[in-house]
């Protein structure tokens, strides 16, 4: 175990632990804040693997925008201080089963597929230059296809939010 491995494992433990607390806490705003910790641990993991660009995008988009949007949504609807027993769903054991099964499947696939494929970590391997070259040279077609998907989602959002188009209710 090198220093890298230890730090990576610790960050992984933080991300998973915060994730568990996020779904088990009885306070909905605490859940959103644990999500921040979990995303932070994940970003740290990316950093250890020298994927700097992905790490900072993770912080900028997920912590800076998605969680703020979540908090805004929670505060706009209901955000009681203190424990809320209604947060426990009757489906939670089923959900736990699904989550464990998904995790087992993913871990098995990754270990069977890449269990012995070790790759040296090089500084700068995940910098903006390398990532930009890869996305806009090698993978430019999937990238553009994804942008069409996003465009479709945007158009859908506009259609859903506009009440003055489409069929009348009467």
């Amino acid at each position: 175990m090198t220093g890298h491995d230890v730090v990576f494992l610790l960050l992984g433990a933080i991300a998973v632990g915060a994730g568990v607390l996020c779904v088990t806490t009885k306070q909905i705003v605490h859940a959103a804040l644990w999500l921040v910790v979990s995303f932070g641990g994940l970003a740290g993991g990316y950093l250890v693997l020298t994927a700097e660009f992905v790490a900072w995008v993770q912080v900028l988009i997920y912590v800076g925008a998605v969680v703020v949007l979540l908090l805004f949504g929670i505060m706009l609807t209901r955000a009681p201080i203190g424990r809320d027993p209604a947060l426990d769903s009757g489906n939670r054991w089923v959900a736990l089963g699904v989550a464990l099964a998904t995790a087992a499947l993913l871990v098995t696939v990754v270990i069977m597929g890449f269990g012995h494929a070790y790759k040296e970590i090089e500084p700068g391997g995940g910098s903006a230059d390398t990532l930009g070259a890869a996305v806009f040279r090698t993978w430019v077609l999937p990238f553009e296809v994804l942008s069409v998907l996003l465009l479709a989602a945007l158009v859908g959002a506009i259609v859903l939010s506009r009440s003055d188009i489409g069929e009348k209710d009467d």
Binding site: M75, G82, G124
Partner: protein
Amino acid sequence: MPDLLEIVLKLALVAAVFAVLPLLVGQAEHKVMAHMQGRLGPMYAGGFHGWAQLVADGVKFAQKEDVVPAAADRRIFKLAPGVALVPYLLVLLVIPVGPDGMVVLDLGLGLFFALAVMGIGVIGAIMAGWASANKYSLLGGMRVAAQLLSYELPMVFAAASVAMAAGTLSLSGIVEEWRWYWLPWQAVGLVVFFVAGLAELRRPPFDMPIADSEIILGPYTEYGGLRFALFLLAEYAGIVVLAALTAVLYLGGWKGPFLDAELGWLWLLLKVFALAFIVIWLRVSFPRMREDQLQRLAWAWLVPLALAQLALTGVMRVVSA
């Protein structure tokens, strides 16, 4: 180990800057606002033109009782000022003050780091707004969130335009590439970045979330003593960070008319204070914007302007290449 010594020295310098510059900006705000309004401002503390007013304020804040409302969420309530303050300290680490590695942390993605970390500071204000168990605070927290969501986009677009012009995301690299003709070329981006930054800091005229005359300081209503002082410090540290980032991105950072290498830090400091003066000036001259006006400014003006600036930068880059 000279390397370790250098790092410790740099960190100590950043800590000193973080402790002193916000106080200087705060004192400047007292005096500048006063003179613009035909008053004198603080005149007694410390003797000479009230220079020690903020030190005295700090001592006063430290003596106050640490009050947490009974209905508040204690842990989050106490954590919030720290979450609001620390990100600005982290951003200072990547601000270059001179050529050839005169920066604490020379990140290849310095620009991204700065923008990402600045966004975290806002979560502190949202946490404070929710955890105070006060309707005014909750309203303020929601306005903070709405404001961040609208103004983050034009800010990132404007910053991306500079990164495109320089061909790098490193803050040191951007200053190296900076030329005088960037001033007219990136002028729109400069205005968009600065205005969006002001809105993210919730400075007047974008202080709807803390509007003292209607929601009584919003997220900070229930705070007193040292924790309130930390929020105030975060606001002034935010002004320093925004001014430093604007200077580095759009005004050439440590570049000056002469002696760049020796006096780089002084040029940057001058630019930071000039921008901080403008921040204060705007506070004195403009009335607070209403919530709908705030949103309209962001989506109907800043986002299109930032996109136009991005297009202009792209076209110029392709034409000149």
